[in-house]
Amino acid sequence: MNDSSDIIEVKNLTKKFKDLTAVDGISFSVREGEVFGFLGPNGAGKTTTIKMLCTLLRPTSGQALVSGQDVVKSPSEVRKHIGLVAEKLILYDRLTAMENLKFFGSLYHIPKQEVVARATKWLKALEMEKWQDKMAGTFSTGMKQRVNIARALLTEPEVIFLDEPTLGLDPQTSRSIRNFIDDLHAHGVTVILTTHIMPEADELSDNIAIIDHGKIIAMDTPQNLKASIKKDNATLEDVFLRLTGRDMREDSHEHIPSARAHMFGGKSRVR
């Protein structure tokens, strides 16, 4: 596993919020240039893991290396190599698409002309060049997500984290984003993808990890995962449900900060 071409190496990574263990000693590695599907029910610890890898959360224990840099010891080095498409859009409504890209580009200290050139390229690739001078607040969800993806790619990251990139999008936009992920794959960018849409994960991923209750319960190629259960024409959904059970999860604490605070002991300090 400890190949020199591993771009992400995670060892015994744990994150505790008060008495709740969100991520419980997980270990995995991601090879450079692969699309790594990260699946799990709501509240399983996917977003927490991604936030730790993006240096947004400090691990309680364990180690994680991204692009050979430790996320705790040298977070600013890690930040230079990653892009993030989170559950919430990272865009300012009152800036135009181009202004958003220019602003985020400037934070990476990329020369201005270079930022504009890249922004133009990505907006074109995502069919948003017509709208580049319109306020992001006026866009539909799909349009916003495309600009959001352009923002994450602007810095030409080695690793891009896509946390449910097709959430709430129409089939057309979802399709175009999936094609785009394929393109990225072809260009050798490492993609960490979380999604609840099993066919999407099946179609795009080279490797899949399924996480539940903070632990990785399965990790393999989609083909092997499907072959592992005894069912004809098994789908990834069959695998997922077999492994994680059919009970529904409580995940309200992921979205409402106060509810989350309540869950973690009632201190508003939590988030």
Partner: protein, 403 residues
């Protein structure tokens, strides 16, 4: 050195983005300008000034038929404000019972009762009395009214005394001619007071309140603005975008601080401009010192703003925390009424509030034309407070953003 330069350029980028966003938010922009205007106009017009007291309904029941009481009634009827309005609108009543009934019916705000033996008492060299009946349901008006009435009565009393003392001097001068030189006024009022103002003209409430409001608006902008701006980005998710960028945490918070400083200063200037244009406030001290003091105020409150933005999870809680701090600060810092008027305990409390020093220093400079040598203690206190708060707030913020 290069690193500091980098942190500063990054923070200017953040500030530029914040201001760009802000100036595009029309609604916010409108209220940004209206707020200080409201604040000034409100405080300017609701607080009673000398000129706001006009046509106060006053009841007089004069049972006396003498010259003295008639003069006094006339003086009260004819009293005018500096604008030429009548201070009292006088109604006549039969006796003190009728006056009290009229006050109960809220037809008048106070009454003066002169009994039938008034002139007689004076003539017979006895002490005459006038009764003032205040309307206790309206303490502020009744206080002013009582003061004015007492002054009028005292003045009348003095003039009576003067006539009587004059008579006495004349009588005694027959026996002792030396006494003819004595001035009756000097005997009655041996001490005279004169007023030597530091600045020309009468002090007005605006001149008092404008520096305080300026200090307060700057404080509110920086504290509330900073905390809500950070928590808004946190809620929207854009804060994560800033946090995963390879920029220092210090740049993020400094950027916010810079943009809020710009907003606070603009609002402070709006207040000052309004005060000058609409309410005739004059800046007697140096503009440079005043602006330096405003910046110092921003610096002093920045730490609290950062601290709250680090601790508050959502915009709502940031607002609530801020209100809790700001409300007592507003009233205890001597912005609206002088600290000396407060009970002793509250005066101690006001001494630990930084806004008190900001308001005091600005008032000294704007109203009294004080120079740096008169405000250095306030400057020092504000600077130390700001530095200590920042020293606590910045590391707290760093820790809070990556848990």
């Amino acid at each position: 050195m290069k690193k500091i330069f980098q942190i500063l350029t990054d923070s200017f980028r953040m500030a530029r983005k914040d201001l760009l966003e802000f100036f595009r938010d029309r609604m916010q922009l409108v209220f940004f300008i209206i707020m200080p205007i409201f604040m000034m106009i409100m405080t300017g017009f609701i607080f009673p000034t000398e000129n706001s007291l006009k046509n106060i309904p006053l009841g007089i029941a004069n049972q006396d038929t003498g010259q003295m009481s008639a003069t006094m009634t006339e003086v009260l009827t004819e009293m005018r404000t500096s604008n030429g309005d009548n201070i009292f609108s006088v109604k006549t009543f039969a006796d003190d019972g009728a006056l009290k009934d009229a006050i109960k019916a809220q037809k008048i705000n106070g009454g003066v009762f002169i009994s039938s033996d008034f002139s007689q008492a004076i003539q017979e060299n006895q002490q005459a009395s006038v009764t003032i009946i205040p309307d206790q349901s309206n303490p502020q008006i009744s206080q002013i009214l009582t003061q004015v009435l007492q002054q009028v009565i005292a003045r009348t009393s003095t003039s009576v005394a003067q006539t009587k003392v004059d008579e006495m001097i004349k009588l005694t001068a027959i026996a002792n001619p030396q006494l003819a030189q004595v001035n009756a006024a000097v005997i009655i009022q041996p001490i005279q007071s004169t007023i030597d103002n530091l600045i020309p003209g009468k002090p007005n409430y605006f001149q008092f309140v404008a520096p305080g409001i300026m200090a307060m608006i700057v404080m509110m902008s920086v504290m509330t603005g900073l905390a809500t701006s950070v928590s808004r980005e946190r809620e929207a998710g854009t804060l994560d975008g800033l946090l995963i960028a390879p920029v220092s945490r210090l740049s993020i918070i400094l950027g916010k601080a810079f943009s809020q400083t710009a907003r606070g200063m603009i609002q402070g200037m709006i207040v000052l401009l309004l005060a000058i244009v609409l309410f005739g406030v004059h800046v007697y001290g140096s503009w440079l010192i005043m602006i330096v003091l405003l910046f110092l105020g921003v610096f002093a409150f920045m730490g609290i703003g950062i601290l709250v933005s680090a601790l508050a999870s959502a915009q709502e809680s940031a607002m609530t925390i801020m209100m809790t701090f700001q409300f007592p600060m507003m009233f205890l810092s001597g912005v609206f009424f002088p600290i000396q008027q407060m009970p002793q305990v509250m005066q101690y409390v006001s001494k630990v509030i930084p806004l008190t020093y900001e308001a005091t220093a600005l008032r000294k400079v704007i109203v009294l034309g004080a120079g740096f040598s008169s405000v250095w203690i306030e400057v020092l206190i504000l600077f130390v407070f700001g530095a200590v708060m920042l020293a606590i707030a910045v590391p707290t913020f760093r820790r809070a953003v990556t848990r």
